[in-house]
């Protein structure tokens, strides 16, 4: 990934955000720059993403795919546009605290996911994609490949699955 492209994308992201000067500050402070790294820990910089991060570590794909492999387009330009888009929306949401929890994926993000699945598994699903009509929705059947069962904020099926199922009644601890 070349240096000038990084800068170009950052500029774009900031350009969208600069409308309210504070946006830029927020973005920087909340480690918005991490949007431009491939390192999954960069996403986990926000505690909001912590749950996704830890569940990803327990799910099947963590040895072969990191956040960006699934959540960002594989084509370069589209990737940076998406990064800027996410970066801005998430930073703003993080600052205002104005978002649903458990998180809900927007359709745009879902569409990106479908494409990245196909990208890696093209060979395998060739038959499915070869039929004339629209592509099948991978997430209809495989929505748990990235993070296991849906996590929300925890509970017996979340990142605390093992905890809640196996932990004896004693020893309730405040979760981080």
């Amino acid at each position: 990934m070349s240096q000038w492209r990084k800068k170009w994308a950052l500029a774009l992201a900031l350009a969208i955000g600069i409308g309210t000067g504070i946006g830029a500050y927020t973005f920087r402070y909340a480690e918005g720059l991490s949007y431009f790294s491939k390192d999954p820990r960069a996403c986990a910089n926000c505690h909001i993403m912590q749950q996704s991060y830890s569940s990803w570590q327990m799910a099947g794909h963590h040895t072969v795919a990191a956040c960006a492999d699934c959540h960002l387009p594989h084509e370069t330009i589209a990737k940076y546009l998406a990064k800027a888009d996410n970066g801005w929306r998430h930073s703003r949401a993080f600052t205002t605290g104005n978002f649903p929890e458990p998180l809900e994926m927007i359709p745009r993000s879902r569409a990106i996911l479908e494409k990245t699945c196909q990208g890696c598994h093209e060979g395998l699903v060739q038959g499915m994609l070869s039929q004339g009509n629209e592509a099948p929705a991978c997430l209809h059947c495989h929505s748990d490949v990235g993070h296991g069962e849906r996590l929300g904020l925890g509970g017996p099926f979340g990142s605390t699955a093992l905890e809640a199922r196996q932990m004896p009644a004693h020893g309730v601890k405040r979760k981080p």
Partner: protein, 455 residues
């Protein structure tokens, strides 16, 4: 902006105990400085809430009267205190005052009623000289008024409180209520299906040396339902027997009926809650079997606990707490349901509505069948049919009424186990109609002196 700073700070916070709390601290206010978020939620149970079938609505003094809304309920309960006053439930904050205000107390009630309506443990310990189980047993000898006075005098007159569900030292969940402790252990010892309870399954195949004790044996995910199972259950609570949860054969409506059928009072008479004022049938009363019905549903059997839906996690800044505003999950679909389900909020609400609407329709159908049965028996009586020839009709009344009431008294309008609730209503309807047939043909046979032969 400050928001972000706060987030960063909160992230580092741990439980700082500002004050010390003990077994005798029944006043939640005492706990508030340590756990302000939980306390805030707890206090909100005093707010009015309303969904189609849940909550209690506006700011009226008392929730809506079920007996007015569904007159067949009143008819079914004739001869029992429940025909005097029977209202919608509401938030935990009201549990003691709503009990005190109920006209059911115009009939003599037992002190055991307080088991589920107040933070009663210190009083039980006092009554039993430190042994709460003994305390509960002794409490049934008191009249409701006597024990209520004692409670008020002791300073423990609070609704269910922190100490009822939490060990004040570790804040772990624990169950305190003697009624539950005894019953869950009896259930573990039965061969009733226990799909929802992994620790009971393990105990059963294990050594069984010590009786099953939820406080040491249960998993955390089970405790998240057990704390509610202390109260949201079918019971007998009167003068003729100590408080009883009838789980010796299992947690299904059929298993519970079987237990009641085999129970006798001390004086040897077979168990029943009351004699129906019109027909004279010896019938049962079902009370809020949320825990039991839930246990028969797919959620329970997938490990989903009461607290998952009724006390979902919420984030306050960077920390997660359980929402102690215990209420209808339909008021909080995002946290209560979408944490596991990928469908939208509207879609989740629609699903619940479909389930509840089907149950409601069958419930009303059952109500009509019950009224027809009562009418048929009364016509037969008027026609002079002798008691003995109505025995079958009266027995069928007891069976049908049990199942109909079971679903009516359960507070989720079938949601906790949709197919099981529909099944119970189907059987109830069949039994009510068969009772009606029996009464009708007894009357016909009587009026024809012997003919036509009963088919």
């Amino acid at each position: 902006l400050t928001n972000i700073f706060e987030h960063k700070v909160e992230q580092q916070q741990a439980w700082v105990r500002v004050v010390n709390v003990t077994e005798n601290d029944t006043d939640p206010l005492k706990w508030a400085p340590n756990w302000p978020a939980e306390y805030d939620g707890y206090k909100r149970t005093a707010l009015p809430t309303k969904t189609r079938f849940g909550g209690h609505g506006g700011s009226e003094a008392l929730p809506e009267e079920k007996l007015t809304r569904d007159p067949w309920l009143k008819r079914m309960f004739l001869g029992y205190a429940f025909s005097l006053d029977y209202r919608d439930r509401r938030g935990h904050a009201y549990m003691l005052s709503d009990q005190e205000a109920s006209l059911r107390l115009t009939k003599p009630q037992s002190g055991s009623c307080l088991h589920c309506h107040a933070s009663i443990m210190p009083l039980y310990r006092e009554l039993g000289n430190g042994d709460a189980m003994l305390g509960l047993e002794r409490s049934s000898a008191f009249s409701y008024e006597e024990l209520n006075q004692k409670l008020r005098a002791s300073g423990h007159a609070h609704p269910v409180s922190c100490v009822d569900c939490h060990d004040p030292k570790s804040m772990s969940l624990r169950v305190t209520r003697p009624g539950f402790l005894r019953a869950i252990s009896e259930f573990a010892n039965s061969d009733g299906e226990a799909q929802a309870f992994p620790s009971i399954q393990e105990w059963r195949v294990g050594k069984r040396e010590k009786p099953y004790d939820p406080n040491t044996d249960a998993r955390r995910s089970e405790m998240r339902s057990f704390v509610c199972g202390q109260c949201h259950v079918e019971y007998y609570c009167g003068k003729k027997m100590p408080l009883t949860f009838p789980w010796q054969k299992g947690l299904t409506a059929d298993a519970i009926e079987a237990v009641w059928n085999e129970t006798t009072f001390k004086d040897g008479t077979p168990f029943s809650d009351f004699e129906h004022a019109e027909t004279g049938a010896k019938v049962l009363k079902a009370q809020h079997p949320e825990f039991e019905l839930w246990s028969q549903g797919i959620h329970a059997q997938s490990g989903v606990s009461c607290a998952d839906c009724h006390m979902p996690y919420q984030r306050e800044g960077a920390t997660k707490t359980s929402d102690h505003w215990v209420r209808s999950p339909l008021l909080n679909v995002n946290r209560a349901c979408q944490t596991c389900h990928r469908a939208s909020e509207t879609e989740m609400l629609r699903r619940v509505d479909v389930i509840q609407q089907r149950t409601y329709e069958l419930l009303q159908r059952g109500g009509r069948a019950m009224v027809d049965l009562l009418d048929a028996i009364m016509l037969a009586k008027k026609a002079g049919v002798p008691e003995a020839e109505l025995a079958q009709a009266l027995l069928l009344q007891r069976q049908a009424q049990w199942r109909l009431d079971y679903v009516a008294a359960e507070n989720s309008m079938g949601f906790h186990a949709p197919q099981e609730a529909a099944r119970l209503l189907a059987v109830a309807i069949d039994q009510a109609r068969q009772g009606q047939l029996s009464a009708l043909s007894a009357r016909a046979a009587h009026e024809l002196t012997g003919k036509p032969e009963v088919p």
